[in-house]
């Protein structure tokens, strides 16, 4: 019968009021910890996807939307730009640009986006195939690890993409040639995991831009020869198709000098396109989300304080019921410190249990949310990561438990034995 088990038994003897305090405390702690988890994982995902990209060029519109759609693949594209317009940036001898990767967006396969690009994309995101190879010919695709797992795609699988980002059978490009998986990428933790990658020409082909050309080859040649023909088209640089459109262009500079920085302003002012800097837009996004997160954090702190108050009230009122017990324990040899410690311990036990409950809520909640979040943010989230902040949270919980218990504990230690016993 030590102090800890005595306090514990006192708590479970009053299950109702203690449960209320516990649940409140758990909710507060859970909300704070969930905010930590979400924030950390979101920021990490955003950082991981910066991929050294300095500038994104696309159609005029919201710069944030351009960044979100082209780099994070979560929003709709702003529109298209023609190859003719971006031709200067595709020049491999451009003095400022190290890499320029074109993106053609707009199609998806069962919720996963099909991205038309060039093999340089893989270098930019440092993605390598775990199986198979990177696409070479038209209608060949290399899929991200998550996509492969979720859609059970492997090398040799074929599928037809559908128009738009919503899964809808009516929008499937049924008349187009099916895509063929030639490679599966290693899991990278970046957005690449969630993408189906093919070359830009494939996207055009699906949308029938090259129909006349393809028609003729399909009619006149045997199948094998037809493939040869496609291989040829794949080899041609994009600048050979001035009439075609792409969605955006991801740019890595050779160095961040004055001219490079000026390029964004110059594009925005002198062309019908826009250029956006990922770092700036993401910071803007943080500050937008930040207001909401801040409000939620304050809400959580208020919940924790209210739950501290409820621990205080339930200890205080249970003390009134237990006045006689306190006097009794004093007559049996219990010191004032013993009673003080007993009540403090009750507060601490509640706080620690509330903390454990809260951490449980947040991690289970995160795990439950992970599915939803992956769908809307294109990233994998997990509930099974624990952060150092959660240890500080434990410290905070213990402090609140102590503060809630200290007044009732003083009250208990000051029980007047004679008066209490004489009252009966």
């Amino acid at each position: 019968m030590n102090l800890l088990s005595l306090s514990w038994k006192n708590i479970i003897n009053k299950p109702l009021s203690m449960t209320l305090s516990l649940v409140l405390f758990g909710l507060g702690v859970g909300l704070i910890s969930l905010l930590f988890l979400l924030n950390t994982q979101l920021e990490e995902k955003f950082e991981a996807n910066l991929a050294g990209i300095d500038l994104v060029i696309g159609a005029k519109g919201s710069p944030l939307q351009l960044i979100l759609s082209s780099m994070y693949h979560i929003d709709s594209p702003t529109g298209n730009v023609s190859i003719e317009e971006v031709r200067p940036f595709l020049n491999p001898n451009h003095p400022l640009i190290k890499t320029a990767v074109p993106l053609s967006l707009g199609d998806s396969h069962r919720g996963y986006r099909v991205v038309g690009t060039t093999p340089a994309f893989f270098g930019m995101y440092e993605a390598a195939p775990a199986e198979g190879r990177i696409f070479e010919k038209t209608m060949e695709v290399t899929v991200g690890a998550t996509v492969a797992r979720a859609l059970e795609l492997e090398v040799g699988s074929t599928f037809q993409s559908s128009h738009g980002f919503v899964q809808d059978e009516n929008l499937v490009h049924a008349d187009a040639e099916p895509f063929k998986v030639v490679g599966v990428l290693e899991p990278s933790g970046s957005v690449v995991d969630q993408l189906i990658l093919t070359n830009t020409q494939s996207v055009w082909a699906v949308h029938g831009h090259e129909e006349s050309e393809e028609d003729h080859s399909d009619h006149d040649h045997a199948e094998g020869e037809g493939h040869d023909h496609e291989a040829e088209t794949a080899m041609k640089p994009l600048t050979e198709y001035p009439e075609e459109d792409i969605t955006s262009l991801l740019i890595q500079f050779k160095g961040r000098n004055y001219q490079a920085l000026n390029m964004q302003r110059s594009i925005n002012e002198n062309t019908d396109m826009q250029a956006a800097t990922p770092a700036i837009e993401i910071n803007r996004l943080y500050s937008l989300i930040g207001v909401g997160a801040e409000a939620l954090r304050w809400l959580a702190i208020i919940i924790v304080i209210v739950s501290g108050l409820s621990i205080f009230i339930s200890l205080y009122s249970s003390l009134r019921d237990r006045r006689y017990e306190m006097a009794l324990m004093r007559t049996m040899g219990g010191s004032r410190n013993f009673l003080f410690g007993m009540i403090i311990l009750e507060g601490l036990i509640l706080a620690v249990l509330g903390y454990v409950l809260g951490i449980g809520i947040s991690h289970l909640g995160m795990e439950a949310l992970a599915g939803n979040l992956s769908d809307s943010y294109r990233y994998t989230f997990t509930g099974w990561r624990f952060l150092p902040q959660e240890a500080y949270l434990l410290g905070g919980a213990v402090v609140i438990g102590f503060l809630a218990a200290v007044i009732p504990a003083i009250q208990a230690s000051r029980t007047d034995i004679h008066e209490t016993l004489a009252e009966g």
Binding site: I12, R330, G333, I417
Partner: protein, 284 residues
């Protein structure tokens, strides 16, 4: 230890088990029912009660000591010139008392004569305005608060009119808590033995709320005895009980006080007890 010479022998056992003592008794040619009756309070007291009452489980005998008839009569509970004044009230003065070891006393008085106040003074729950209260030769008024708490837990068992318990704990746990609060390590064997003796063995895992009034009072007696106190104070232990339970509780108190060789002082205005006890103090 049949002869007078042997009565003067001072035998010292340090951390001896009961078997050591038994061996000693056989070795020195004493039959077991002639075992010396003077082992310390950690061991056993009555020579004929030793075998039945589970003494085999108790193996710590700190010291065996010789108690002369005089020592047996020595004063365990003593007050001198004790008075207490509530703020704003007239001071209550109390008669000097001197209760010997193993004596049973009744403290009588009408309502309002300060019986409960006197009991709380005797138990060190209140500090007198004047005078001194000694228990087992220790002046309670000279002890610090926490020393007094500990001393009370070890030396004084108190039984109240209505038996109160820590409600969150079972009967057995309440008794162990009493041991713990007095600074002893929990002794489940002792708890079981006591409850067994009071006919409560099957209630050990019940919550106090599940017991009848009479049972609760018996548990309260067990709790008062669990630390083998020198003095047992009882405040109106029978007034809430019917005649049958009243006599039973009174008998138990006497028996158990005898077994523990403790001084018993019952504060009461219960006429049913007056015939049972010869030694009486009357407050007026």
């Amino acid at each position: 230890m049949g002869n007078n010479d042997a009565n003067n022998v001072y035998i010292l056992f340090v951390h001896a088990s009961f078997y050591d003592v038994l061996n000693y008794a056989y070795f020195t040619g004493k039959a077991k029912n002639n075992l010396p009756d003077h082992f310390c309070g950690k061991c056993f007291r009555g020579k004929n009660t030793t075998m039945e009452s589970g003494i085999f489980r108790e193996s710590i005998c700190i010291k065996a000591r010789k108690l002369s008839e005089n020592q047996k009569q020595m004063t365990m509970l003593q007050t001198q010139n004790v008075s207490y004044s509530y703020s704003g009230g007239t001071p209550l003065t109390f008669p000097d008392v001197a209760c010997g070891r193993n004596e049973h006393w009744l403290l009588l008085g009408q309502s309002g004569t300060g019986k409960t106040t006197f009991l709380h003074l005797l138990g060190g729950l209140l500090t007198p305005s004047n005078g001194s209260v000694s228990v087992n030769d220790t002046d309670l008024t000279q002890l610090s608060q926490s020393r007094r708490d500990k001393f009370r837990g070890q030396q004084i068992g108190i039984i109240f009119q209505e038996a109160h318990f820590v409600r969150a704990l079972t009967v057995g746990e309440n008794l162990q808590l009493a041991q713990k609060l007095a600074g002893h390590s929990p002794d489940k064997a002792r708890v079981r033995e006591l409850l067994d003796r009071l006919g409560l063995a099957n209630k050990i895992n019940r919550k106090p709320d599940q017991l009848s009034v009479g049972e609760r009072q018996r548990v309260a007696i067990a709790r008062a005895l669990v630390n083998k106190p020198a003095v047992i104070l009882a405040d109106e232990p029978t007034s809430a009980l019917d005649d049958e339970n009243c006599q039973e509780v009174a008998t138990l108190l006497e028996e158990q006080a005898n077994l523990a060789e403790a001084t018993l002082l019952i504060v009461t205005h219960d006429n049913r007890l007056k015939e049972r006890f010869e030694k009486q103090i009357v407050l007026s």
